[in-house]
Symmetry: C2
Subunit: 348 residues, 2 copies
């Protein structure tokens, strides 16, 4: 029997419990043993929840339980989540997270602790929601030098740009629609200013090249300034505007990364990702271009990735996944290719 | 130091040697030890090859070398390849292959031997060439019940249909062009009759549901009968014709699979896969639809997948990958949804 805990019982945490309820038979068959959700750490009143008997308010219950194998961190942010993740790893627990902010800003430190304690710190859900992405890049493409990664990494902004393109509406009108549909937060800053996509492209760059690239190190520009006129002009040229996170390895080994609205040919494979869908293209020097596409957010898609990581962490109890990155990336400004007459770079 | 051998030094086998030459530094850093190509088993005269000193003609050299860890089987077919794979596994070697025919027809038996000998038999390259596909489905989506898999699994037929659509040419003219470009064999039967795609959808179904589905058990129809008129009529309705391999889990647990030309809306994500590209859509009950896209064939893309498997096999020397499937799938005819007035089913 394997035991896990969920810290933070919001959208993602609740989704993980639901995925286990839906698919317990397949999950346990795969794992080869029962999987028990032992604790839910949350300070909210969950007494009406079917999981009420699992709720604890004190992290030290998790930390001190020698039978607890895996902790899911779905608290978000980089304060409490950082403290609890650090302590869980130090206590010898595997930790699985969907928290892109924490991985992008403290992943290097946390992975070093995981290495020291011989446990897994896994974060497939932090980029692209449920889309298999980090493990395929790190593992299936391990025989490649990764040359470039370009992705539509934020569903909120992709929804907004898609509506602006389809309906000719303004950014503000499309944002309101996204908020009404629950695709955008009441404070949409992290999404529309590109920070969420910036965290994700940094995690991808960290993994691809093994050196830390932090969101503060790179150019990040959101979509607030995109006008219906920009969208219309692009359409007339057979192009679309997408917020693209990019990371490239330059000759000499330096790295450039950015998040910016880009012009793409409507024929570009990434241009087919509309609405809240995400798509990420990876160029390896042997495989060429491969693309991954799917829902980049949502409770069950994200929980799908978390559950895949829980099973992988438990599969690798004896020999941890050798993940990590070091300091010292040589980061250069992104070598944009601007389209004449616009301020928008082109993604070929 | 880890040692491997390549059996069959054709397109794929040669690609594996080339990928190691190109990316040795990254590969060995990832592996944590040197990786040595110790033998090439081939009966052709390779005396002019830079690898001439590694060539052996006798399989028993590989079988009896206690220091040989991994054998790449890129012989093709299901005769010699079957014999050597069986013997390599029985000798305690990990085996990595791109051979879809062998996996589709003898995978169950070979995986059972691998289990008994506690070694890995891995075949990421057998479906979708370099596209990460089997490992993401089996591992990243392990928290899902897989509901359906639909894929453009054969680059040759996709190239032919793309040319028929773009240029209005006949099947025969497009096939000749594919042969001239090296995308189709001189005997194109296995591709154009759908058998190659059939082997691949069977491997996907085997993995998704754990029960053996063999190519002889399912409906397989190729693209020879598609006319320029069919393609034109589809285009007028905003559709394209693609050769799609499909596998679904029906209510009650039975499985249906087929390969047939399908009508797809031009907006369908799979419709964006043109030319020799492959694309596979997987529907999981938690993640929803995810798609994988890239080059489904070619020396370096396929070798990329083989190299990923070599590294994974070596990572899992102590505890093998628990892969396998049993007999006894309940296979039903595919529940097609035909478009009125045509013989072509529709993929929604």
């Amino acid at each position: 029997m394997a035991n896990f805990a969920i810290m933070g019982f919001g959208t993602v945490g609740g989704g993980v419990a639901e995925v286990l309820r839906m698919n317990r038979e397949a999950i346990e068959k795969r794992l080869g043993e029962p999987l028990c959700l032992k604790y839910i750490l949350d300070v909210r009143d969950l007494s009406a929840s079917p999981y009420a008997d699992k709720v604890v308010g004190d992290f030290s219950v998790l930390e001190n339980d020698p039978d607890l194998d895996v902790v899911v961190e779905s608290i978000g942010g980089a304060k409490v989540a950082l403290d609890f993740t650090r302590r869980a790893l130090l206590a010898g627990k595997h930790v699985v997270t969907s928290n892109k902010e924490l991985v992008a800003t403290h992943g290097r430190e946390l992975l070093a602790i995981a290495r020291e304690k011989n446990v897994n710190y896994l974060f497939e859900a932090s980029v692209g929601g449920g889309i298999p992405l980090l493990r395929p890049i790190f593992q299936c493409l391990a025989g490649n030098e990764i040359e470039e990664i370009s992705g539509i990494l934020n569903g909120t902004t992709n929804f907004i740009l898609t509506r602006m393109f389809q309906e000719g509406v303004t950014f503000d009108a499309a944002l309101r629609e996204a908020q009404e549909r629950g695709y955008a937060e009441q404070d949409p800053t992290a999404d529309v200013e590109g920070l969420d996509a910036g965290r994700k492209i940094c995690i991808l760059a960290d993994l691809a090249w093994g050196r830390e690239v932090r969101p503060g190190d790179i150019e990040i520009q959101g979509i607030r300034s995109i006008t219906p006129g920009d969208v219309e002009a692009a359409g007339k040229d057979g192009q679309v505007i997408k917020l693209v996170g990019r990371a490239v390895r330059n000759a000499g080994g330096s790295v450039s990364a950015c998040v910016r609205p880009h012009l793409l040919s409507a024929e570009h494979p990434l241009a087919a990702a509309n609405g809240v869908f995400n798509a990420v293209m990876v160029r390896g020097n042997a495989v060429g271009d491969v693309m991954f596409y799917g829902r980049g957010a949502g409770d069950l898609p994200t929980a799908s990735a978390v559950m895949g990581d829980i099973l992988d962490a438990l599969d690798h109890r004896a020999k941890r996944r050798d993940l990590g990155w070091s300091e010292g990336a040589d980061i250069r400004p992104f070598p944009h290719r601007l389209k004449a007459g616009t301020a928008l770079p082109v993604l070929l």
